[in-house]
Amino acid sequence: MHYQVEPAAAAWNYLIRVRTMEEDQMERVVRLASQSAVVIFSMSSCCMCHAMKRLFCGMGVNPTVHELDQDPKGKDMERALMRLLGNGINTTAAVVPVVFIGGKLVGSMDRVLAFHISGTLVPLLKQAGALWL
């Protein structure tokens, strides 16, 4: 009996552990995001992340970059980010890059570009204290 309950309990425990870890990472992500004015979660091999970094550097912003592939909990963080971004994201597409400005989630590259073109990115950066001009 004790033996029979184990697998189910183990499975359940595992799920809870995963979920906790995710939540941990979620917390961690949020915590990390609030630490700087501009935080980018990226991957060193991702070229779109490279473009994102270039964009901010070109504007004169100095973002804090967290490379998920160099973090031991990177996978979980990636999942957490995926959840943050919402269910509409295609799971096969890359999650990163994800940008937080002033602790608040902005989103992926398309969101950032949309904000930039509509002229709301710069005020947002100024508000967060990332731009001084």
């Binding site: 070229c47 779109m48 490279h50 473009a51 994102m52 270039r54 570009l113 073109i117 509509s118």
Partner: protein, 463 residues
């Protein structure tokens, strides 16, 4: 035999009348009445010139000069100086009288009158003197006689006028003849010009027909190429289909776009109200959205085809950026042609141009990084030891490369989003009328690029 020395007079008085007078004098019959002829012709010439107003002022001068010449000692005559002077004066007087008779205005009028009086007084005297003179001075005598005769009554005038009318006809004839000749010349020239123009038109027509033919041929060639692309790649028929399908959709889209733009243009020209214009402008903007939708479908089917820009004309392809037009370039074109803009609008457009430029740069750098990493991946796969391990490594590298290639589509997607959002933001900044004009300007630019392309294809280049 006294003879009037023409050269002296000629040197001092270059007027036409004078020279022809001289000429006449030379050609005149060599009879002793030459002097009288001279005298007559002198008078006639002067009279003729009297009738031409242009030499009017000079006329009196001429007369005075001639008179002085006559006076000046070219004559050695036995006539008394007084008589001679009087005859000369008479001559002058006659001329003045003629002037007077003709009713021409002259500054020398009063002088003429004076001379006339004197002449009237001296007439008899001259005549008498003349008859007394020896035959040595026959010429002069005769001339004086003629003068005298002329002087005696108003017949001089009549005679002279008769002579004058006779000689007047010839120069008049000459003028008419000259005029006719000029007319003929002008007519001939204009005929030649007309002929040349017609020839030019004909050759241009031929050239136009040639150009149209070549254009047709080039268009057919392009169509053939697409068809060839499809048939030659049986194995990649799916891919070919995707490209071909997009090409056909794009051609349809361009035609529809042109129709919408023409409607917009006629709306602007007919000064349509803002409300209707708004609808038309929104229609064009929605049509642009349709293009981006088509492109995303095409990119999913064949990303390389979209990226390569093979669906654009070659000239447009020159300016391609990440599978489409460059937003900042478009804004530059629009900005120059959109005066007047308010301060706010100018700032808005400038900022938009700035941000789209930054976004383009970022995406371009991302693309460069992608290319670099792709080439790194492919180059590392070529290294490695021989053996079965190599194949696995090879497959592994290929998988990574495939993964990297997948990001191509996302770059293309981002680029199209950028283009779409730039257009929408531009629409938001401008008024309806300005936006309509901006769309027309963009269309003009693209049309010209396409026309340039056609011309380039049509022009035979012989190197």
């Amino acid at each position: 035999m006294q003879s009037f020395n023409p050269t002296e007079s000629e040197s001092t008085s270059p007027l036409y009348s004078h020279s022809s007078f001289i000429h006449r004098g030379n050609d005149a019959n060599p009879n002793p009445t030459r002097f009288s002829d001279l005298q007559h012709s002198f008078r006639q010439h002067d009279a003729v010139d009297l009738s031409s107003s242009s030499v009017f002022g000079a006329k009196s001068n001429n007369m005075a000069v001639v008179a002085s010449n006559l006076q000046c000692g070219t004559f050695n005559t036995n006539l008394g100086g007084a008589e001679f002077g009087s005859t000369v004066v008479g001559c002058v007087e006659t001329e003045s009288q003629h002037m007077y008779q003709r009713g021409n205005c002259s500054a020398t009028m009063p002088m003429g009158n004076q001379y006339v009086e004197k002449w009237a007084d001296d007439s008899q005297h001259t005549e008498d003197t003349c008859t007394d003179i020896d035959t040595d001075d026959k010429n002069q005598c005769f001339s004086t006689v003629s003068w005298g005769n002329g002087v005696g009554d108003g017949a001089l005038v009549v005679v002279d006028s008769q002579d004058q009318s006779k000689t007047k006809v010839k120069p008049e004839d000459q003028k008419t003849v000259r005029r006719l000749a000029q007319n003929r010349e002008a007519a001939r020239k204009s005929r030649l010009r007309k002929k040349a123009y017609v020839q030019q038109l004909e050759s241009s027509r031929v050239r136009l027909a040639q150009l149209e033919q070549e254009l047709q041929r080039a268009r057919q060639q392009q169509g053939v190429l697409i068809a060839n692309g499809l048939t030659a790649e049986r194995g990649h028929s799916v891919v070919g289909n995707g490209a071909l399908a997009f090409d056909m959709d794009y051609v349809r889209w361009v035609d529809e776009h042109q129709r919408l733009i023409n409607d917009l243009r006629s709306a602007i020209n007919s000064r349509m109200g803002d409300n209707e214009l708004y609808v038309l402008v929104d229609g064009v903007m929605a049509h642009y959205d349709e293009l981006f939708r088509l492109k995303s479908i095409g990119a999913k089917a064949d990303v390389f085809h979209i990226l390569s820009g093979m669906w654009k004309t070659p000239a447009e392809r020159c300016f391609i950026w990440l599978g489409g037009f460059r937003s900042s370039e478009l804004l530059k074109i629009v900005r120059n042609q959109l005066e007047p803009l308010t301060e706010e609008q100018l700032m808005g457009i400038y900022n938009l141009q700035q941000s789209s430029q930054q976004a383009e740069d970022a995406l371009s750098q991302g693309m460069e990084a992608l290319q670099q990493s792709l080439s790194d991946t492919l180059s590392t796969s070529s290294q490695g030891s021989s053996g079965s391990g190599n194949v696995a490594e090879y497959m592994g590298q290929m998988a990574i490369a495939l993964g990297k290639l997948a990001t191509l589509e996302s770059f293309l997607h981002q680029a199209d989003l950028l283009r779409q959002q730039t257009l929408q933001q531009m629409r938001r900044i401008l008024t309806t009328f300005q936006a309509a004009r901006a769309l027309l300007v963009i269309n003009d630019y693209v049309s010209r690029l396409r026309a340039l392309n056609s011309l380039w294809l049509a022009c035979p280049r012989e190197y």
